[in-house]
């Protein structure tokens, strides 16, 4: 495999056209925050953002920057730092179309795409307003039951791009994801996976017995760029913790559109990110 390694995260962000369907993971999986900033710099618009199964700062910033038209998610939250202010504002003024889901339903839609099947049945949800507000979901009789047995059918979710941050990749484009197995489903479901990594390493991760089990093969990968501290200010695996002071300052700034814009000016389009991440 050649040509998967990009020189910059901005070059990776340039692969994502306006209107793309992107999939992003929960914070524990590894969030490509540097790529998120590059997407905002490039001014991407009209994204359909699927969260597997929830999002936080990444989603809030993309929403705040006006990059997201529709958000399919089970939750948007900054966790102990509180509600996601730009998400809440987007809901409140109707500028964001929300498709509320429940975590396993998004997993099932992604797994359906991974398996190349048009839909997957799933238990639960019947009688909830989550289901009542999803006209793209169906309820049907379980064909293997002789009793009345309704079950929800969830259409496959097929993102154009999955966006993740991981620990390392080799020059072939194989990516070490360790125990974050949801990346396999996300990558299988998506047309291609764009990856930032803490480090690009020599060798072949698939040929090393200690890494192969936790490696996403390059055949799923559309591009890789090195981004040290690339999940900042979020925590990344066991590698580094959340930058709590920065998160608090984000929440304070993002309460207003103007505050959010000045945060972007400072940390996304301006030069303050590198300094803050040190």
């Amino acid at each position: 495999m050649t040509g998967l390694i990009h020189d910059s995260v901005d070059s990776l962000a340039a692969l994502i056209p306006d209107g793309a369907k992107i999939a992003v993971p929960a914070d524990y999986t590894g969030v490509a925050m540097e790529l998120t900033r590059a997407m905002i710099r490039r001014g991407v618009r009209d994204l359909y953002m699927v969260c597997l199964p929830v999002t936080g700062l990444q989603g809030d910033m993309l929403i705040g920057a006006g990059a997201v038209k529709t958000n399919e998610t089970s939750a948007v939250t900054l966790g102990e730092f509180g509600g996601a202010p730009r998400f809440q504002a987007g809901i409140g003024d109707g500028s964001l179309t929300i498709k509320d889901a429940t975590c396993p339903a998004i997993h099932a839609g992604i797994q359906a795409a991974q398996k190349g099947i048009p839909y997957m049945p799933l238990r639960g949800m019947i009688g909830s307003d989550v289901l009542a507000n999803r006209d793209d979901w169906k309820v049907a009789q379980n064909p293997f039951s002789e009793e009345e047995d309704p079950i929800v059918l969830l259409p496959a979710i097929k993102p154009d791009f999955a966006l993740i941050h991981a620990k390392k990749a080799d020059r072939h484009g194989n990516v070490f994801i360790g125990i974050r197995r949801e990346v396999m489903a996300l990558a299988g479901a998506s047309r291609q996976t764009l990856v930032t990594v803490e480090e690009i390493v020599d060798g072949n991760l698939l040929r090393d017995d200690t890494t192969a089990t936790g490696t996403l093969p390059a055949l799923y990968v559309g591009g890789v760029a090195e981004a040290r501290q690339g999940a900042w200010p979020l925590a990344f695996w066991e590698e580094y913790p959340t930058d709590e002071a920065h998160m608090a300052s984000y929440v304070a700034a993002a309460r207003s559109p103007e505050g959010f814009q000045s945060y972007v000016d400072q940390y996304v389009t301006g030069g303050a990110r590198a300094a803050a991440a040190e």
Binding site: V54, T73, G92, G94, C103, G124, V130, R180
Partner: protein, 253 residues
């Protein structure tokens, strides 16, 4: 004879951990969700008391993580029938045990928007003992009717449902839920609180028996386990919670 400390020796968090441990007793596998230090502590206490028969998954923990198949594995456990207990909160919980994690006002343009339903619309159907837990016991939380049903408390008989509300635990009391009558009932009131206080702060009707017992406190042995051992186990995942509630243990460690 069992040695009980006096109520004022016991922190609310310690009492809640004790109650939760009782509620998950006998389970084979329990898990708590994100941002759940007290449920986590209750599960870890129950595991300690089970003599190794119970397995506990603490989301976000490295030492108490039992998931090696990605974030979906917790949900797969539930559908496989392996997960015996889980915890749900809610911006609103109503008298029919419906839960609202989405918002207040008309959907989708809610006046107040919360994060979203997470796994509730699924786990509530499939986990036999779902314990409703809130640290705020007010009429704002415990409402007559939720504005949005993230997940319903009960289902029609044709709906596949092996799980549902098992108990409600708050800083004031413990309730049970009758799935046939679709109604909560008061099980016990915590020391220092009263039935009237519960009723005043609950926006839905509940059944109150003639005699409402006081919640049994942890005995001294249990309290020691919580303070000396469970405190540190919680601290791995929730350092700020542990430092606040168990400063002695955290500082000594």
């Amino acid at each position: 004879m069992t040695d009980f400390p006096s109520p004022d020796e016991i922190r609310t968090e310690e009492l809640l951990i004790t109650i939760i441990a009782r509620l998950v007793e006998g389970c084979r596998l329990v898990s708590c969700g994100a941002s759940s230090p007290i449920p986590g502590g209750g599960c870890l206490l129950a595991r300690q008391q089970s003599g190794g028969a119970m397995q506990v998954n603490v989301l976000g923990s490295r030492l108490n993580n039992l998931m090696t198949n990605g974030g979906v594995e917790l949900f797969d456990w539930a559908a496989q029938g392996r997960l015996d207990a889980f915890f749900l909160g809610g911006g609103q919980i109503d008298g029919q045990a419906n839960i609202n994690l989405v918002g207040v006002g008309d959907y989708p343009q809610a006046k107040i928007r919360w994060p979203g339903s997470f796994g509730s619309a699924y786990l509530y159907f499939l986990v036999p003992r779902v314990i409703l837990f809130r640290e705020e016991h007010t009429r704002r939380v415990f409402v007559d009717k939720v504005d949005f049903i993230s997940t319903p408390g009960t289902s029609d008989p044709e709906v596949y449902r092996t799980g549902g509300p098992y108990a409600l635990v708050s800083p004031l009391c413990q309730m049970g839920f009758d799935k046939v009558r679709k109604k909560f009932h008061l099980v016990s009131v915590h020391p220092g609180h009263t039935v009237e206080e519960v009723l005043d702060n609950t926006g839905f009707a509940i059944d109150v028996p003639d005699h409402v017992p006081e919640t049994v406190l942890p005995d001294r042995a249990t309290l020691n386990i919580i303070r000396q051992q469970i405190s540190l186990e919680i601290a791995e995942t929730y350092p700020r919670f542990a430092a606040k509630v168990f400063p002695e243990a955290v500082n000594a460690a």
